[in-house]
Amino acid sequence: LAREEAFEARIDAGDFIEAKDWMPEHYRKTLVRQISQHAHSEIVGMLPEGNWITRAPTLKRKAILLAKVQDEGGHGLYLYAAAETLGTSRDEMTEALLSGKAKYSSIFNYPTLTWADIGVIGWLVDGAAIMNQVPLCRCSFAPYARAMIRVCREESFHQRQGYESLLVMMQKGTPEQKAMVQDAVNRWWWPALMMFGPADKDSPNSEQSMRWGIKRVSNDTLRQKFVDATIPQAEILGVTVPDPELKWNAERESYDFGPIDWSEFWRVVGGEGPCNRERLAARQKAWNDGAWVREAAMAHSRKQATKAQAA
């Protein structure tokens, strides 16, 4: 109990917690859940973008997309490693993902239907992710905070690349390309807003996380911040967002926006989104098809170890 009080005091003082430090079990569990969920999101997130690697329209765009997806895989590895410092293993986390027990960001349960989706994912989805993650750079658990600093830096780069690719299409493209961009924005806008999670009043876990310094800013605050930052970008781009109620509120110095369809949010979280089945099936297949590879690698390294011992 004394330890718990000391821990709380450290948190209150704005101290950072390292993996080797004592921490309450619930704090540890909350972090494992959040970090592994974040890692899973990076890995599952490779799928909708990977879907366009073979069809990227130019070699430059293909290279950018390959590099981006590679970064995401790297974030996944980095985050799995951060979670492992808390006493879980990658195999356990993988098992939780594949069995459906662990979640990943629902945004990746939407399909990438056109090339413009790739740009819009960079702009809106990475944009929302950054908005969510910047406060995590000050998360009380230091390894996660350090990971987030690196992740945010790379995500910002991806966001700018995505926005730039849309800008090219909107400013120099054909009417068909412009329509493609607008269509992609129409499909991704609401799911992007949902990325900040349920409204504060429906977000029961948030309070404890806030107290512990794992979460620093509330869902609705971040969502508002995202809308306010994004609408001017949309204007420069020359696209509209599919919200008839969106309008500038001079009093609040902020945009008002229409109600979110939470029934869709919960349906997708609950596993009935457009691509939930396929994303999970793809990861399961990769894992199952790869079993012989992983076994062979282990068998080979055992052989090498035996040889080394004998020598």
């Binding site: 069809r55 299409m169 493209g173 098809d289 790869g290 590879v293 076994e295 062979a296």
Partner: protein, 250 residues
């Protein structure tokens, strides 16, 4: 120009097949490694295609060459256009076989390494410069892929059987790696690297406890523009956006 295209297209199509792995590899580390290899190869293809376009002098840039030629004008070896799995043989679809992809990566990396080494002395300074930069990359590819070949060949009984089966599929197509003629001073005939390639491959097979299949009389001619039935399906996918949005700016 043909000589450069033969290299450029081989890098390009090899990268295209590697790109199909993204998100589906046996371990995440390999998702990264395969993607990274694809990225390097795309870089090499870009440099080589740009150079080929300059040699042609008709104003075609890397993308016009990469996306807007007809199948018969691509000059890659058939080996790299084969699907990532032999399980669905005739329609370009179907599955990913890590054994096949690993063996192919090693075979192509050794071959590129040998060619690029010789191209350092090319009288074409641009080609020599491209080779110098690419050499570092393909050395790493060769090392990484060879490690996996050994790991999987000398792993479990199952992995060895899978590697041996994949080798049987690929082996007849290896012949083409030594088929294209050279251009005096500019670049070596591919057969000039054959002996060294076979020596290195033999060593690798030995280390991986794999046995070489019987040599085949198959002589594919992708480098002359005669491809397999897989190529058309690959191109339909690869070229789709450029074809569907003529005049588009990306």
């Amino acid at each position: 120009m043909t000589y450069v295209l033969q290299l450029a297209d081989t890098c390009l199509i090899h990268a295209q097949r590697l790109g199909e792995w993204c998100g589906h590899a046996p371990v995440i580390e390999e998702d990264l490694a395969l993607t990274n290899m694809a990225l390097d190869l795309i870089g090499q293809a870009r440099a080589l295609l740009t150079h080929a376009g300059a040699l042609e002098g008709a104003g075609r840039d890397e993308d016009q060459l990469a996306f807007l030629r007809e199948e018969r004008d691509y000059r890659n070896v058939v080996l790299v256009e084969l699907p990532n799995s032999a399980a669905s043989p005739s329609d370009g679809s179907g599955g990913r076989d890590f054994a096949l992809t690993t063996l192919r990566n090693a075979a192509v990396a050794i071959w590129l390494e040998l060619l690029y080494e010789k191209l350092l002395d090319s009288t074409d300074p641009e080609l020599a410069a491209i080779a110098a930069k690419a050499l570092k990359e393909v050395r790493y590819h060769r090392q990484h892929a060879s490690d996996w070949v050994v790991r999987l060949g000398d792993g479990t009984a199952e992995s060895q059987a899978r590697m041996q089966a994949a080798l049987a599929v690929l082996w007849p197509y290896v012949n083409e790696l030594f088929a294209a003629p050279g251009v005096d001073g500019v670049g070596p005939a591919w057969k000039d690297v054959e002996a060294e390639w076979r020596a290195r491959w033999g060593t690798l097979m030995q280390e991986a406890t794999l046995s070489l299949p019987r040599d085949s009389a198959l002589r594919t001619q992708g480098h002359l523009g005669v491809h397999s039935e897989h190529m058309g399906h690959l191109l339909a996918t690869m070229q789709y956006l450029q074809r569907a949005y003529p005049g588009g700016v990306w």
